[in-house]
């Protein structure tokens, strides 16, 4: 084994036994981590492939969720993440624009925002669930009920909108980090050139900097969607339902969700062997959804970095 060329200088010349052992051991550790990915993927694809029919993704569950499909769960997941994106992406992009373009160097506000973004990213998802319940449902929702619906529980209950807003806060850091990275990668000279030509700051940001950073924004948005589509803990108490005979049509409707459906089938079903094919099928659909989104995001980012470097 020769230490292959990296971008860094090679670590010494001729690898001796200790070197080789080290390389083999670290390579083996890498292989084990990659194997985790392959094993989960492989197991879910093999287990779920047989279930994945048109009926499965287009029909509603039947017979106490032991037969039929998962269309309502797919619909609910898409509706949820769409709503979440509408909130999280503009808010995240605006935050990143402020941090990268407007905040004066050493700004205290910017430092505070950065600290909060970092902490928000580290808050356990179940805590977001508690927060959604305590803030959106019990406080905001109930407030709306008292103010507009004579105290009738209309918005003061688990709903699509509250789950989406909870998830929007959870995914905000994903959008901010990705957008900010892209904005910072835009060369200083482009801004200077634009300003020198007489453009205002706002014109420079919207017509020069943001178009250059569109890949980063897209990446952030897609990663947020992928993250949001897979989260279960924050929506358990804020809007997801075991089973609904209808699709959600209003912001205050409850909804079914792929991840929650997996959790319910895996823990509450009296007959796991009968639901196992459905379970595998649902997991496969969820994994395909989040994975395809992730792969698209990674490809966009790699291409974009390359273009900026070129």
């Amino acid at each position: 084994v020769t230490p292959a060329a990296t971008t860094q200088p090679r670590l010494g010349r001729r690898p001796n036994l200790a070197d080789r052992t080290l390389i083999v051991l670290t390579a083996a550790a890498t292989a084990i981590i990659l194997a985790m990915l392959v094993i989960v993927l492989g197991d879910v694809i093999i287990g779920g492939w047989g279930t994945l029919t048109w009926e499965f993704i287009s029909a509603a569950p039947r017979d106490g969720m032991t037969k039929g499909g998962i269309f309502p769960a797919i619909f609910g997941t898409v509706a949820l993440t769409l709503l979440m994106t509408i909130v999280a992406v503009p808010a995240g992009v605006a935050t990143a624009v402020y941090l990268a373009e407007y905040a004066p160097p050493g700004s205290r506000v910017a430092r505070l925002v950065n600290v909060c973004i970092a902490n928000l990213a580290g808050v356990p998802s179940i805590v977001f669930g508690l927060f959604g319940l305590g803030f959106f449902i019990a406080t905001v929702g109930r407030g709306i009920d008292v103010a507009a619906f004579d105290g009738q529980p209309t918005y003061g209950k688990p709903s699509l909108i509250w789950a989406a807003l909870t998830l929007a806060i959870l995914t905000l850091p994903v959008v901010v980090v990705s957008t900010e990275e892209a904005l910072l990668a835009v060369p200083r000279e482009l801004r200077d050139g634009s300003l020198a030509l007489g453009a205002t700051k706002f014109q420079t940001v919207t017509r020069v900097v943001l178009p250059q950073a569109v890949g980063g924004i897209l990446t952030g948005g897609i990663l947020a969607v992928s993250r949001g589509a897979g989260e279960v803990a924050p929506i358990m108490f804020t809007g997801a339902a075991y089973f609904l005979p209808y699709l959600p049509t209003h912001l205050n409707d409850q909804f079914m969700n792929l991840g929650y459906h997996v959790y319910v089938l895996a823990t509450q079903s009296p007959d796991v062997d009968r639901t196992k094919p459905l379970l595998y099928g649902t997991v496969l659909v969820l994994l395909l959804l989040t994975f395809l989104l992730n792969i698209v995001a990674i490809v966009i980012r790699i291409r974009f970095r390359r273009r900026l470097l070129a």
């Binding site: 080290l22 808050v123 453009a199």
Partner: protein
């Protein structure tokens, strides 16, 4: 591309009043929106804390439960979490032990693997291979935790029982191994960043002095990157104690105070996830669950701040040494 963008952006050179107004409005808008993140952190603190506070202040809650009862053993039952029995018992020590058990298992697996993988990717891997490994590990991080939990429940549990002959099919080992799937990418990413932050001059100097690759790595690069690697472990710990869906599905969820890793166990997060749905709003049980959430929130906050501090300190030191 950049030229056409520049041409388009030039616009009319006049700075009319209207556009000056627009300038100010735009800046005010992005600045205000950026405060959403600050508001969110504060609101989480307030609204999770508000529902947890009655544990300390409410006489109503104290009829059923005093703050001390959360930590001290019951005279008749010892350390017992049994919130829905005839006489509810709210000792949260078994839940902490449960979280600790699965977290330790997860870190014992994830730390050596992830740090070694970071070393491989940063120091040994050919460039073209590295360009595939990093996105692949990102993909691993992108697997929803409910999917990992499902995999641990169906597949890992069977393997673990076959290999270790555990008493319970779902236990701390299974949950810990499952958690490792989620923790590895976190530790890998931070550790890899730390190794990358070690200036190349360190490597060239070590090599010029005649060090072999292993000497360079073990005596120069790793010591220099050690704070960052410590931070990686700290952040991985934070991720592990906060993870919910994997442990809910794989740990067996029995609140036993028991050091045996092969027995079912129940973590803080899993307790909230499983019990909050059925609890009466405003009951002592309800407030205890929020108190658990508040403790979780505060501990991850501390863990993250410590982790970030270490990374920041190391960056500055290495930057100064360059």
């Amino acid at each position: 591309m950049s030229e056409s963008a520049l041409r388009k952006s030039a616009g009319p050179p006049s700075l009319a009043k209207q556009s000056r107004w627009l300038e100010r409005a735009a800046e005010a808008l992005v600045k205000t929106v950026s405060l959403v993140s600050v508001a969110s952190v504060i609101l989480i603190l307030i609204f999770v804390g508000k529902e947890a506070l009655p544990i300390l202040t409410s006489a109503e809650v104290h009829k059923e439960l005093t703050p001390g009862a959360l930590f001290a053993p019951y005279a008749d039952a010892g350390y017992m979490w049994q919130p829905v029995s005839e006489v509810p018992k709210y000792n949260i020590i078994p839940l902490f032990i449960g979280t600790l058990k699965v977290t330790i298992v997860a870190l014992l697996v994830a730390v050596p693997l992830s740090v070694a993988a970071a070393v491989y990717v940063c120091e040994f891997a050919p460039k073209n291979l590295r360009d595939y490994i990093k996105p692949a590990i990102e993909l691993l991080a992108g697997i929803p935790s409910v999917v990992v939990g499902f995999f641990a429940l169906i597949v890992l549990a069977t393997w673990v029982q076959r290999i270790f002959g555990t008493d319970h099919r779902l236990n701390a080992l299974v949950a810990g191994f499952g958690l490792a799937f989620a923790v590895c990418p976190v530790i890998f990413t931070v550790a890899e960043d730390a190794l990358r932050a070690v200036p190349n001059s360190y490597r060239t100097a070590a090599v010029a002095l005649g060090s072999t690759p292993s000497q360079t790595l073990l005596r120069v690069i790793l010591p220099a990157a050690m704070p960052g690697i410590a931070a990686a472990v700290v952040l991985g710990f934070g991720r592990a104690i906060g993870e919910t869906m994997i442990v809910v599905l794989a740990s067996g969820n029995a609140a036993l105070l028991d050091p045996n890793l092969g027995h079912s166990t129940r973590t803080v997060t899993a307790t909230i996830a499983q019990e909050l749905g059925e609890v009466v709003v405003g009951s002592a049980h309800y407030h205890v669950l929020f108190a658990l959430g508040a403790l979780l929130f505060l501990s991850t906050l501390v863990v993250n701040v410590v982790g970030e501090r270490i990374v920041f300190g190391m960056r500055r030191r290495l930057g100064g040494a360059q």
